[in-house]
């Protein structure tokens, strides 16, 4: 009996695990609520995309990127910069100076690089950068304080370009890719853990910039009310055809509108996810994928076989980061707000890593299932902890000291819970739930 189950599992891992996950979500839908189930589903899909980006970097190329948070935040920032309406007052107050400052910044960098490449004395290079920096600083300080003074409680930043929000997702991907390119150029010579701490550092730097450069991102004061690619609940509730539908399905108007909006998002997210997975799988299952895996296996030997390791790593780093950036933009759009304080390594970097590993690194579908499981736990560990507390207090009596103690600490039980389940999943599926075929454990 055990054996047949085992065999079934080994031969049909993918089908079985996706079926189980669907069943769990359906269960949530029927027993708790469909809004919740869909909410979990949507976030899981976004996380899947992020995990996919990481999987491409780690699973394909062994690049240990612990800066996921930074790239996701760049995606988020792009949403603000592209799709928010411009704040005309602020632009009048400091937009011009800011433009000059930014241009000076760019010129300084370009001049620095050119001088360096032309092998000028390093002091000359240094002096020119120094001068450029102070010139920039001069305009910059004026501009930023002028911008931030414009209605600080309401705006206090430049706003965005007012373009369609879907465009901002693409831009988010490109922004992350651009930064990844620069970062990769500098740090990809580093190995494993050293690369990890470098990327971690860079992601922190990105977050600090977003948090502290108020003129750009409103800093910690958050940007809210971001535009959506789907209709607003409150407007839906007012349209007659929608009311008819709600009536037809016999669902409360509020709930139905929420469901509807979430379904629209789900449609967009899932199509993006499927598109990415198809592309990723095609690539992996080709000479390109073979080259990439060979490099991961043994760099010295791959170099001796004529493969340019650095270039390959850079390509993969950029692509993976772009996907993370895209997911970051999707997330911010979905939440309707950019909240820089919420970018915490635990949530945006390590949680995603756990998804990749639990799902099975190197396997794209693995990242998806990993994302679903871990996100589900992240959300449902709390209720599970509460439920356990309830069981205990039923068992030991409502007022017993142990029940009171647990009751008091129940919210910390979720941490224990989350950890324990994670450990269990990893323990019983070494190599992940859907391991890469032919993979070393």
């Amino acid at each position: 009996m055990m054996n047949t189950i085992n065999e079934m599992w080994t031969s049909h891992r993918t089908q079985i695990s996706f079926t189980i996950m669907t069943a769990i979500l359906l269960f949530v839908g029927f027993n708790q609520s469909w809004v919740l189930a869909l909410g979990i589903f949507n976030l899981s899909v976004i996380s899947s995309i992020m995990a996919l980006g990481v999987n491409i970097q780690w699973g394909y190329a062994g690049l240990f990127n612990v800066g996921i948070m930074g790239f996701a935040a760049l995606g988020g920032l792009s949403v603000v910069l592209i799709s928010q309406q411009p704040v005309t007052d602020a632009i009048e107050a400091g937009g011009f100076n800011m433009l000059i400052a930014l241009m000076l910044g760019v010129i300084t960098v370009v001049v620095g690089v050119v001088l360096h490449n032309k092998k000028f004395n390093k002091w000359v290079v240094f002096a020119s950068i120094f001068l450029g920096f102070f010139a920039m600083r001069y305009f910059f300080a004026d501009a930023s304080s002028a911008i931030e003074k414009v209605n600080p409680a309401g705006t206090g930043y430049l706003g965005g370009l007012g373009l369609p929000v879907l465009l901002s997702w693409v831009v988010g991907g490109f922004a992350a890719a651009g930064v990844a390119w620069g970062v990769g150029k500098i740090t990809l010579g580093l190995r494993s853990d050293y690369l990890a701490i470098a990327t971690l550092g860079i992601s922190e730097i990105i977050i600090y910039v977003i948090k502290n450069e108020d003129w750009l991102s409103r800093g910690v004061k958050n940007v809210t009310g971001l535009p959506r690619p789907v209709p607003y609940e409150l407007e839906l509730q007012k349209t007659p055809w929608f009311q008819d539908w709600a009536h037809y399905f016999d669902v409360g108007l509020g709930e139905f509108s929420t469901l509807f909006v979430k379904l629209c998002y789900a449609g967009i997210f899932v199509s993006i996810l499927i598109g990415l997975i198809i592309m990723a799988n095609l690539a992996l299952d080709s000479p390109w994928g073979r080259k990439v895996r060979a490099i991961r296996d043994n760099e010295v030997s791959a170099a001796a076989m004529g493969k340019n390791i650095t270039r390959q790593h850079l390509q993969i780093f950029v692509i993976g980061s772009a996907i993370v950036g895209l997911a970051g933009a999707m997330l911010v759009t979905y939440n309707g707000l950019l909240n820089p304080t919420s970018y915490q390594p635990l949530r945006f970097t390590f949680l995603i890593w756990v998804m990749v590993i639990v799902g099975g690194s190197g396997n794209n579908l693995g990242s998806v299932i990993g994302a679903f499981i871990i996100w589900f736990l992240w959300i449902q560990a709390g209720p599970m902890g509460l439920w356990i507390a309830e069981v205990i207090s039923n068992f030991a009596g409502e007022q017993s000291s142990i029940a009171l103690f647990i009751e008091d600490r129940v919210h910390h039980l979720r941490l224990v819970f989350m950890g324990a389940i994670m450990l269990m999943v990893m323990r019983f599926t070494p190599g992940g739930i859907l391991p890469e075929k032919n993979k070393e454990l």
Binding site: Q32, P152, Y232, E233, T258, R347, G382
Partner: protein, 364 residues
Amino acid sequence: GSLQGYTGPLESLIGDIHDGTVLAASEANASGQYAHGTINVPEGDSKCIDADAAIAEAERLINDGVIGLVGPNCSGVTTAVINNVTAANGVVNISPSATSPALSTIEDNGFFFRTAPSDARQGQVLAAIAMGRGITSVAVTYTNNDYGKGLADAFVGSYEALGGTVTVNSGHEEGKADYSADVASLSAGGSSVLAVFGYADGGALSLTTASVDTGAFDSYIFADGMIGSGPALGGLDGLSGSWGTAPGGSTAAASWASVTAAAGITPGPYSGEAYDAMALIILASQASTDRGDIQAAMMAIGNAPGVSISAGQIGFGLHLLSEGIEIDYDGATGVEFNDVGEVKGSFLEYDVVGTAWSSIKTHR
């Protein structure tokens, strides 16, 4: 429902807030006056800084059938929850501790309330007191989130307008391992007074401790987040001459003190606000548990005219309501809403005497 940041950076403040909500609910239950049976308060964890988790939890609570939400605590996720969940679903959402000025103007469809006053007001009060005390130059450190930044903006704005100088104005991150760099650069500005806008057991405390240890400043100005129950900043000595403000000072405060004393708990920051938030939802749902009706009733119950109800009188209030008599809930903090559903709030000025807080004056 109660949606609080049980885990995450504010976890250590939540105990008091949680106590406040529980107190109000059990008081109502004990009175037996509630028209719809016993009140159950399902809990959700907003994690304070994880908007996605907070939204999911809010959705879960709402689908569990809560009639209103107390929480969340942190302004960022509060915004997320209002935008994505409560306004859309038409659920009253009343935060006991989100004080960001930005929340005043949020498009909430009228469903968002708060029992903590906006920081814009506290900034003005602090600035006025500081000038009144003859302090003409300060350094400012704020916890780098929308609460701290908003408060610092408000304070610096009014203080400079009154003619004061701010030598250094910088933020500090929560939960970091070491704050001596912050202290060093703050002290280098040359001013002898430091204004601390942060959390009493967060980074601000570490920062203040480090500052006191190195003798960087002579005295300190504290905002509400730093002023709690018990000895000032965990009994740190070397704070004498320092002062601060926190919401309070209403006539209602005495009733709250006796309620907490009776329940045997020590009130902490925002616990009164939490009590009021819960009480308001309970009272507003006495007539009908329809979520829309609750919203409609909130303003009437919170504001005059009506029989004044203070902390410990929830049962009485419920009774009056079921008799059809109008009430004006004042509760623990003297609740009075303005037209966007925020309390106007009054502030108490505290002095540090030895290692204890001593309240000296009310500012309205």
